[in-house]
């Protein structure tokens, strides 16, 4: 791991130096690198337009801005939440209209530039943990609505702690090199240069085609799904050739979004829409880990947009893979472990998860036989769920599961997982032991 980081640092250095000198002199003179503060553009003009604010609220819900930009529930959008990345910890910024510590002094042009180019008002370069490589695809109209919505929030005075990033990534100007390679500006992002705009995005698509176009726009732009669900290269950029093939984020597997038809029951449009909206899909399971907060934000998105996103996601599917037969490999799973797991299951899990337990017959909770986590190729999410559960969330109706990190030892959790896999799934046995569980326990992760 250390070796990889060193190699990464070295290659970044070399790459950055080359690119930095190639782009910097021009960039520093470019208007994009200087503040566009302009007395004529005052945010207050936008704050009385309720249709605009509603439009912005919908986009904020789809983009789940509040999820990363909130550390303390009583101060939404005030930032300060630590985001663990492979390169260190980044703290989200305050995007409330506070003039000192938030974006109260930002003009619409400042805001647009940050969304399209990852440049803050004072000209410093933002890190792509802020998904501007996605937001760059948003239309002018949508960015303006989002701006109006954020400017209508309560101003909170709060400064995020300093980022803790490894060298050389703590040198912000190097992001210019990153952007040169990995930022592919959207159509309208170029329009300020090319004078070419495209604002005819359908707000309420009627036909399947329009739904697909709208869905693609939302998924690739404001919803930035690929930011978690696409594998990253060594420099933390999405591998464009492997879009939506899944990744590990904050200790959890963000599953591939291209194999939804390979599930024991292939995902349907209605199940996807319900999952995005409520965090629960009746033949797949409940949102957990970082996705739980995303679905809580999507609850506030419009039906039309949720449907459009579900339509587009379903259009990304690869043909269902023939599920590998679970013959020999299952036989290799240690029967002793499975037997121990069965004993633990009957005391700790059966009251909710046994066949015909009330939870599997009420409230659309699926049997473990259909669970995405139990059928996944990697045991990560199943182990994570046993360890951490799904925390309660005040009075929301989201699914709940107690965590068992304090109840079971690592070996017991490995046995339990072996039993779940052999008893509920037709997929081959996982290869795992207590060391796997120990590693997951130690990983920093989103509860």
């Amino acid at each position: 791991m250390k070796k990889r980081s060193m190699g990464l640092a070295a290659s970044l250095c070399a790459l950055s130096c080359a690119a930095f000198f190639a782009v910097t002199p021009g960039s520093l003179a470019h208007p994009l690198f200087t503040s566009t503060a302009n007395a004529a553009e005052t945010p207050t003009l936008l704050l009385t337009d309720t249709a605009l604010l509603k439009h912005g609220a919908n986009l904020a819900a789809i983009g789940d801005c509040v999820v990363c930009h909130t550390a303390n529930r009583s101060a939404p959008f005030a930032g300060g939440r630590p985001l663990e990345t492979p390169f260190g910890t980044i703290y989200s910024t305050n995007i409330t209209p506070d003039r000192k510590t938030g974006i109260g002094d930002w003009t619409l042009s400042d805001f647009t530039r940050s969304m399209r180019r990852g440049v803050a008002r004072d000209g410093h370069l933002l890190y792509p943990a802020f998904p501007y490589p996605h937001f760059t695809h948003m239309t002018d109209a949508d960015i303006a609505a989002l701006y109006a919505y954020l400017m209508s929030r309560d101003a909170v005075q709060s400064t995020a702690p300093a980022n803790q990033l490894m060298f050389p990534l703590n040198v912000r100007p190097l992001m210019a090199a990153w952007n040169l390679f990995f930022l592919h500006p959207g159509v309208e992002a170029n329009s300020d240069i090319d004078g070419e705009a495209n604002s005819d995005m359908p707000a309420e698509p009627a036909t399947q085609d329009a739904q697909l176009i709208r869905g693609k726009y939302l998924i690739d732009g404001p919803a930035h799904c690929a930011a978690c669900h696409t594998p990253m290269n060594l420099l933390g950029a999405e591998k464009r050739g492997d879009a939506f093939d899944g990744n590990v984020i904050e200790g959890w597997e963000a599953p591939a979004l291209t194999t939804l038809l390979s599930a024991p029951k292939p995902w349907t449009h209605d199940q996807l829409a319900a999952y995005l909206r409520t965090g629960l899909a009746d033949q797949h399971g409940a949102a957990a880990g970082p996705m739980r907060a995303v679905t809580q934000s999507l609850t506030n998105a419009s039906d039309a947009d949720i449907n459009a996103m579900a339509t587009y996601l379903l259009s990304l599917q690869k043909p269902a893979e023939a599920s590998p037969t679970a013959t020999q490999q299952t036989a290799e799973a240690n029967m002793n472990n499975i037997h121990n797991g069965a004993t633990l299951f009957s005391a700790a899990c059966a009251s909710c998860h046994a066949t015909n337990a009330p939870m599997t017959t009420l409230g659309s909770r699926p049997s473990l036989a259909l669970s995405t986590a139990v059928n996944a190729r990697d045991p990560r999410n199943a182990l994570r769920l046993i360890l951490d559960g799904i925390p309660t969330d005040r009075s929301t109706r989201a699914a709940f599961m107690p965590g068992f990190a304090d109840t079971f030892t690592n070996a017991q959790i490995a046995d339990l997982a072996a039993y779940l896999r052999s008893n509920f799934s037709s997929q081959p046995a996982w290869s795992l032991d207590e060391a796997n569980v120990e590693r997951l326990r130690k990983e920093s992760h989103e509860p």
């Binding site: 004993t343 633990l344 005391a347 899990c349 009251s351 309660t392 709940f400 107690p402 304090d406 109840t407």
Partner: protein
């Protein structure tokens, strides 16, 4: 046969290894402090301390306990001589129907063992898994705060 160490005393029990700890405590050992509430890990009435962690005893198979010591509310004191935390619950009159209280006390005890003088924020976060249907949470918090003050 298996050995369970409860409140410092080892007990030999001839029970199915998949028996939840709660049933072993109540039925085999006659310790009726921990209560059966939901059986789903949602209410905390069954909370006891295993090792140094508060757990839902209704979801804890006796087979999983191994050599870890079990502590129940009976181990904290008696009616005649209540422990410090129990006395604080009495002083603050934190019980209404009382069904959740043994679980509340044991979860709070696990926190006090680790953090002798917890902040209010720590208390609230730690006590979140336990519910009181009577709504005496404010008195429960007050009792834990009292027990967390240096003597």
């Amino acid at each position: 046969m298996m050995t369970l160490i409860v409140n410092g005393t080892p007990h030999q029990l001839d029970i199915d290894p998949s028996t939840p700890l709660l049933y072993a405590l109540r039925n085999q050992l006659g310790l009726h402090g921990a209560k059966y509430g939901c059986g789903l890990g949602q209410c905390g009435a069954c909370t006891v301390i295993v090792g140094d962690k508060p757990v839902f005893s209704c979801l804890m198979p006796v087979a999983a306990i191994g050599t870890r010591a079990v502590r129940t509310i009976e181990g904290l004191g008696s009616t005649e001589q209540p422990g410090k935390l129990q006395q604080a619950f009495i002083d603050k009159q934190a019980a209404q129907c009382g069904y959740c209280i043994a679980g509340m006390v044991m979860r709070a005890q696990a926190l006090l063992d680790r953090v002798p003088s917890p902040t209010d924020e720590q208390i609230r976060a730690h006590m979140e898994p336990n519910l009181c249907r009577c709504g005496t949470h404010m008195r429960i918090l007050a009792a834990i705060r009292q027990a967390g003050q240096p003597a």
